[in-house]
Amino acid sequence: MLLVLSFFSYLLLDLAPGDPVEKKLTETGIRVSREILEQERARMGLDRPFLTRYVLWLLGALHGDLGTSYKDGMSVAEKLSDGLKNTCWLASMSLVLALLVSVPLSIVSAVRQNTVWDMFAGFCAFVSNSIPNFLISVLLMYLFCIRLKMFPVIAGNTLQGLFLPVVSLAIPMAGRFFRQFRAEIIDQLEQDYVTGIRARGVREHLVLFCNVLRNAMGHMITVIGLAIGSLMGGSVVIETIFRWSGIGKLVMDSITARDYPVIQGFVLLMGSLYLVIGIITDLIFVALDPRTEISS
């Protein structure tokens, strides 16, 4: 599957208009002659046929060598590794924050359906999910950096610099999680087994936390697993605005520059990550719900 993925992404890159050599040599606005462009293409091996280039790349990848960036000559593996580490920080912190906010709120909201509290929480979730990331980022920057002066605008890759991007990512994520978790918990609360448990006199908090939540956990884990996959791909907007050197920005810059080796390495990396995350999610699902079997 990874082989097919890498082939098609390589093919699409090759078919897309644009040329890494032109992007590199003309980005300042200075024109460059065709002869120089051809020389540089030959030097970078871009004058070779598509299949030759793909096979050479594949052979290198199979030996752990993802090549060097067309843009700056750095090792692709190193660039992706640095970007992924920073994205891991951002992704994990924002996920934790989103869960800390959305899980308790969704439980309370589900238990107190159609109350003022539920409606207010639902409205907030709707708004947070609707506002674009870049707008949230700039608003938070304005609030915390300009008005409250709690953080510098230029923070960089530090723990202090992590706060605002984490909150920016967590807000819409919490809104999404809230709506989905709430719906799942309500669905579980309407099941017959809950009626039965209550009829037997089990206390409400035990009904909720030992039974309902446990049964809802499978769906919640699936949602979280999908979110992790998406987060690990990086958030270009957040990373650019807050100057967080994550993998999303790296890849977007590489796409703009037609930096094929980095894009290919990213596709391979993300494909592998999604596979792993999918497997882990399925295993957790099975562990939580014995009724589920993994088919052979």
Binding site: P17, T28, V32, D72, I146, P152, T158, I284
Partner: protein, 543 residues
Amino acid sequence: MKKSLLAAVLLVSGILAGCGKQAAPAPAAQTAAQQTAAVTAAAEETKAQGTQAAETTAAAPAEETKSQGEKILYAAASFAYPSLDVHKETYGWYTQIYGVSEALFKVGPDMGLIPLLAESMETEGTTATIKLKENAAFSNGNPVTAEMVIRNYQRLAELNARFSFLGDFDYEAVDEHTLTIDTHNPYPTLRNDLASPETGIMDLDSTTDFDTDPICTGPFVMADFQPVGDVRVERNDNYWGGDVKLDGAVFYYMQEDQPKLLAMQSGELDCYNSIDSASLQIYLSDPASYNVVQIAGTRLQYGILNENRLDDKVRAAINLIIDKEALAAYQEGTVVPATGPFRPGAAYGMVSIPATNPEKARQLLEEDGYTPGADGIYEKDGQKLSVEICYYAARNLDAIAILLQEQLKNCGIDSVLTVEEDPDSTYMVTGNYDIALYCMIADKAGDPLYFLDSTLSENSNESKAGGFKNAECQAMIEELRTEADPAKRAELSVKCLQLAVDENAYAYLGLFRQTTVLKPGVTGFAEDIPFDFYGIDANTDKQ
């Protein structure tokens, strides 16, 4: 089984969550004290306000290694390169912007060439004799010698394809501070080319890492370099050119406009250029807090009218319809209407372009056999007059395309917009357009040949695709390759451009302004020089 599975999952989750390294703190600035600055506006062509004294508070991030009270300039850079090697790619632009490297010559505010490391240059026939300044030295104290300059040019020729022509010349070090360059053929733009930032001089013997710490001659030396990231420079205490006013500078790599604006407002930045229109309005509305300096730059927005697809009268009509003032007004101060491809006042760009005249445009179309249809669009032989406008989404060309479409429609010409990701691989070479929008630096170093050669020469892809072919123009371009007299060069350039203008081969739309915003008291950030590759120097100051 379940418990062991769960334990495994938690372990993996823990590893994933903790897989980020503790990032090292980014190079940050020291905390500045509250300052009172008297603002004086630096005068240039269209300088904005800023003459009142203002009390400003700068609240820059804490700096770990610099002590309080040092004069550090904090600037934002829209680009950042992976290397400081002056000779590779266009990396020399930023090495020069950071104040680290210098070339033999420098382009001044009036586009004239100022000797920098060179004392003088005399040309006799094909041989140029360059005398270096005797006190010119690298940051390590080593003198800049003729031999070292020659070796730099030879290295540049090897590493940079755009400067490979330097490898064809013959060099000789006459003495320690004098060198000759034999170009074999007349080369009137040699001095201009030797002002390019890529021709900066490095100490090739003492530099151990060209990518991160080249030893150059500039007023600053590298203190901390992050590839494609922030850069911190310190004063070169051995600077040959005299006192350096700043103790250092920090260049933050910031691509987005809003964070730059917020950083200026919070006091974390002292200056930056390449300002978007929205931020510009905010700065202009608060002259007490911000100095805005705007001068016409060299980056040109223009349209190519395809002679292979549009007849003479239609092209003429299009040029009469285009309202450049309106296009510039929409771009809210970031662009000036172009009166030619070069900056207003440049001797080699003084062409005469007819003013906007929609009525005359209609007249021309009607003379050409077009008649207005029921929908107001001109028709001829049952075919509506419709043009294809090709553009790419950068440098405001997308907005210009839409505005042009509206302007043309108001005068009876319909149009279709086609956007391409990469113009240089598509419409600019295929010629599949009626009007092609493009943006380029028209003036590299105070000489017109580069632009004329790129756009009007019969060998250029642009003229081939656009159908421009004029023997007289070509002859003048060939003459420009050897003509050394500046006045004669200007005359040839103007005549050549006028031919293209008269043929309605081009529509010169707008010139980007070089806009710089500075905190009160900050001066010398190359705000008066129209090129993108100058930044700080020994005279940059922050009160």
